[in-house]
């Protein structure tokens, strides 16, 4: 039996960061588009979608094991309103007794009082988008917060009673030196969080940063540099008693993000809000992208879905390999076809898979393997 999770998308940001291609909007952008959606009118629509979804499938009596508020910047919505959205989920689906409820937060946009409201309202985990402590890096990323704010916000989160605090880092930003990265990691060590996500910067087409790279104003570091930086991060986090549980995620024991793991284990999840993706009973579906179009459908009581894809057995098999291989827990070798096993043996010989786990019937990436996971996935599909 698959567990059920909910992803709730909050498509608002105070300003757009130069590297970001997410489905998020500033107030000015929404105003220009002539939308009546604002941070204050949005929560009711979200609650309406949760109710609508629940009514589509009343026979499914699974409670939510994890809820994740992502964005955008969820904390652009007031803390009481975030709690109201969570309440809507509680009253429709209900939460399991040990449910994990996370929100992403911008260190700039939360006060101690907000954090207390969230914690008391049922949030168990908070993830701060710190990205980097180096001001030159933040400048390239066009992040608004000042580096010191993160540590204050983390302190406040602890005071408010959050046990699980995570920081998001971005590495491989044009202009970031190894020293910049080490400085950031030292700060993370001081903050004593129990979870870190570290993503290498991908210059997405259409972003301001992509234009700057194209113009030659800033240089994108090579994959070799990115690989070396990954090593710096992995080593530093190990010293903080954090081990990888997924290619880009590290935690102290018990600090893993269970919502994240639900994705990798191909569990079911609801996708709520404009552009949100869902995965339920072998079907992937996604909502219309623009908040105005989404809101109009919600107001009509119609489905906000833009389209769906029913996964064929081969797709499911491919996804399982692709997703599970990224986890420290690994992929059961027995799911591989014969040709895939041959490739796995070869990958073992090439030092991409752990020997002891392999002997126990699991494909688990070595350090080297983690950096080459995509190529290996394609090989294991053989």
């Amino acid at each position: 039996m698959r567990t059920l999770s909910a992803y709730i998308h909050i498509p608002f940001c105070a300003s757009r960061c130069g590297y970001c291609d997410f489905n998020t909007y500033t107030a000015a952008e929404l105003h220009r588009d002539g939308t009546s959606i604002t941070t204050t009118t949005y929560p009711d629509r979200v609650s309406a979608e949760i109710n609508w979804l629940r009514n589509q499938n009343l026979t499914d009596d699974r409670q939510l094991s994890t809820v994740f508020f992502g964005g955008g910047t969820p904390t652009m919505i007031s803390a009481p309103n975030l709690v109201r959205i969570l309440d809507a989920a509680k009253t429709t689906y209900g939460l399991t007794s040990d449910a994990e409820v996370t929100t992403e937060a911008n260190p700039d946009s939360v006060s101690l009082q907000d954090l207390e409201i969230l914690r008391n309202g049922g949030f168990t985990r908070i993830s701060f988008g710190h990205q980097s402590s180096a001001s030159n890096v933040l400048q390239i990323l066009e992040r608004t917060h000042t580096p010191g704010k993160t540590w204050q916000a983390i302190d406040d989160a602890r005071k408010a009673g959050f046990e699980h605090v995570s920081v998001d880092l971005i590495y491989g930003t044009p202009g970031e030196s190894e020293q910049d990265l080490i400085g950031t990691l030292n700060d993370v060590a001081d903050a004593d969080v129990d979870h870190v996500s570290a993503y290498s910067l991908i210059v997405e087409p259409g972003t301001k940063l992509a234009a700057r790279v194209a113009r030659g104003e800033v240089a994108q570091p090579s994959d070799d540099v990115a690989a070396q930086r990954y090593g710096v991060i992995d080593a530093a986090l190990k010293k903080m008693n954090m081990t990888w549980y997924e290619v880009s995620n590290w935690s102290k024991p018990g600090g893993e993000c269970r919502h994240n793991i639900a994705y990798w284990k191909n569990q079911d999840w609801l996708g709520i809000g404009p552009g949100a993706h869902a995965h339920t009973s072998g079907t992937r579906s996604w909502n219309v992208k623009h908040p105005a179009a989404w809101a109009a459908l919600i107001d009509e009581g119609a489905s906000p879905a833009a389209d769906q894809e029913v996964l064929a057995p081969a797709d499911i098999a491919h996804e399982e390999i692709m997703l599970r291989l990224r986890l420290r827990e690994g992929l059961e070798l027995k799911v591989l076809a014969e040709a895939g096993i041959v490739e796995a043996r070869l990958a073992l010989a090439q030092g991409l898979l752990e020997v002891t786990d392999f002997e126990a019937g699991m494909a688990v990436l070595t350090y080297k393997g983690r950096l080459l996971a995509d190529g290996l996935v394609a090989r294991l599909w053989a």
Binding site: I202, A227, Y263, H279, E319, M322, L352, L372, D374, A378
Partner: protein, 618 residues
């Protein structure tokens, strides 16, 4: 000028009024345009049906402006003396690869129009064909074309032609094939200067095959010049080289469309159709006689086409192999010089080792395969034929470098050519330097005019096949022209250089080169491949080796990072599809051992674009 009324019929034409001639010209010097004007002046083509390059049949010919296969057209012409003459224009192919075909066309004529661009002067291939015509004792009528061009220098080039042929510059005719100026004068000069054919009408028939073309509907159409006797319709003919006999289902002349007749008589030029389906049964240079009353002596000069240049042709998509075989089988019907046999390459899969007369021939065959049969091909770098003598005296003929024997080699022989280079005198120094590095030996040098030089060199054919022509063009800003003909072979210090990828030799990249150049070849190829082959999940050494000795090495460093950092809920389908697409792309990769080599890398590394034949020799 008026159209000939009731001209004499084929098979009943007095040889005295026949003039058989060809036009010797360089590509772009206006041969086809001149032929067009002749068709118009003699009014054998209805003006409404006239089109440019009327006689060129294949698309490739018309597009590239070159003639691949020759043809003959019968032009009844009322000369200035009001007598009607029969002019047979025998079109000759204009490229070095087809020297033998040219020589047979010339052997069918009594005279030749030497057509030279008045703005460019004579080119090497034209000069070579001129010498060939002089060897055949043809009467030469020198003509400068394009006198209407502002850049024309008729006096200068008339002097040049006069110097080469040994005539008075005043006698060089000046025409514009484009406007038609001077063309009628030329036709009258052809009548006046070129001797009528002399043959014995009573002797057993002998006709020279100077061309042989496969037609989908008619089978093989054979073009002949009757030397003695006559070839009637519905008679049994005999090919003197093989003794094979066939019935003439049709004989006739081209004027300019096929015109069947009861016979073709002594001195005449025409075609015959016997229903054979393969041009190999009707070979250029062979003598046709009648099986009822056969001649005892053939006309001589026949020889089998000898492939000089070999290349492996492989379908890009391995499943196209049967189509490639079928296409080659079809092309062969129309190309007696094309030879091929199946071959397997570790790197490229199943394909054919094909032999060609030269680089242009290769290029044309390849282009026809791609264009007419919709095939996508990879061709290996062209190579020549080596005769390897082993220590025990055994001889091995090597047409594929990867088959070059290892060890115990006593001697390696390579084909050599005698080449003629015509160049403005300012480039003599750089050409000498080039020929020196290409192992050339200077045979002689002559000034054609004050600033134009003819240089004669012996060169290994392999050097020419490599990138000699491109180098020559680039060192002379395109002004030099080149012609060559095989003259035999020489022994040389040649070695096979293998390219190893991760320790595995890649047969398609093996090359036979002079020992002095092996290191440079190995280094260049390794460097080229390093840039072309994507990084793999492991380090890949690229080595160049002579036997077991490594002479050059490059390393493709292992890829260190190949993983997308993020993969949130919404990205899962997208990421799966991305990886699936990448994997699909890998199917188009060829595996060399464990190394994935994109086909583009093979194509680029084997590319003849940089060092291959250039057909437009301008």
């Amino acid at each position: 000028m008026s159209k000939a009324i009731n001209p004499p019929k084929p098979g009943a034409t007095d040889p005295k009024i026949i003039r058989n001639f060809c036009i010797i010209a360089h590509i772009d010097h206006g041969k086809s345009t001149l032929a067009d004007r002749m068709l118009q002046i003699t009014e054998i083509v209805d003006p409404r049906h006239m089109r440019a390059q009327y006689l060129d049949r294949m698309d490739i010919e018309r597009e590239r402006g070159i003639t691949i296969k020759s043809q003959a057209v019968r032009l009844p012409f009322v000369a200035a003396n009001n007598e009607t003459y029969i002019l047979n224009l025998i079109d000759t192919p204009g490229h070095v690869d087809f020297t033998y075909e040219v020589s047979r066309s010339l052997a069918a004529c009594e005279g030749a129009v030497l057509l030279v661009d008045a703005a460019q002067g004579i080119e090497a291939q034209t000069l070579a064909n001129l010498y060939l015509a002089l060897e055949n004792n043809l009467t030469i009528i020198p003509v400068l074309n394009k006198i209407d061009l502002p850049a024309a220098q008729p006096e200068k080039y008339a002097a040049e032609l006069a110097h080469i042929i040994g005539c008075d510059p005043e006698t060089v005719l000046k025409v514009s094939a484009k406007t038609g100026a001077g063309v009628e004068v030329l036709l009258n000069e052809i009548v006046r200067q070129i001797p009528a054919p002399v043959g014995d009408p009573q002797a057993p028939a002998r006709a020279l095959i100077f061309d042989s073309v496969y037609d989908t509907y008619r089978g093989v159409v054979t073009y002949v010049r009757v030397i003695d006797g006559r070839i009637p319709h519905r008679d049994r003919i005999k090919m003197m080289s093989t003794g094979e006999t066939h019935e003439t289902l049709e004989v006739g002349v081209i004027s300019p469309d096929p015109l069947a007749s009861s016979a073709i008589g002594v001195g005449e030029v025409g075609y015959l159709i016997t229903g054979v389906k393969d041009v190999r049964q009707s070979r250029v240079g062979d003598t046709v006689t009648l099986s009822g009353n056969p001649a005892t002596q053939s006309l001589g000069g026949y020889r089998d086409p000898v492939p000089m240049v070999f290349s492996g042709l492989y379908p890009l998509d391995g499943s196209d192999y049967p189509e490639l075989r079928e296409a080659l089988d079809k092309l062969k019907l129309n190309d007696a010089a094309l030879v091929y046999e199946p071959e397997t390459s570790v790197a490229l899969g199943f394909g054919f080792r094909c032999g060609f007369l030269g680089l242009l021939h290769l290029e044309i065959v390849r282009e026809r395969l791609e264009r007419e049969f919709n095939l996508e091909l990879i061709s290996t770098a062209p190579n020549v034929v080596y005769r390897v003598v082993m220590d025990d005296g055994k001889e091995i003929i090597v047409t594929n470098p990867s088959e070059f024997p290892g060890g115990k080699v006593a001697e390696v022989n390579e084909p050599v050519v005698k080449s003629t280079i015509l160049t403005p005198s300012e480039f003599v120094g750089s050409i000498m330097e080039l020929c020196q590095t290409r192992r050339g030996t200077l045979l002689g040098m002559d000034y054609l005019s004050e600033d134009r030089v003819e240089m004669r060199y012996t060169l290994p054919l392999a050097e020419i096949v490599f990138d000699f022509f491109d180098q020559l063009k680039s060192k002379t800003r395109g002004y030099a022209s080149l012609d060559y003909e095989p003259t035999g072979e020489q022994s040389a210090d040649l070695v096979k250089v293998d390219i190893l990828l991760h320790g595995d030799p890649v047969d398609a990249f093996s090359a036979i080169v002079h020992r002095d150049k092996a290191y440079n070849y190995g280094l260049a190829m390794a460097a080229k491949l390093k840039d072309l082959i994507p990084r793999q999940q492991f380090e890949v050494p690229i080595q160049a080796a002579i036997g077991a000795r490594i002479i050059a090495r490059e390393t493709i460093r292992a890829i260190r990072k190949d993983v997308l950092a993020k993969c949130y809920g919404g990205d899962i389908s997208r990421k799966r599809k991305l990886l699936e697409k990448q994997k699909e792309g890998k199917k188009r990769m060829k595996m060399v051992g464990r190394v994935e080599v994109p086909q583009e890398a093979f194509i680029a590394a084997l590319s003849t674009d940089d060092n291959g034949p250039k057909v437009k020799a301008k």
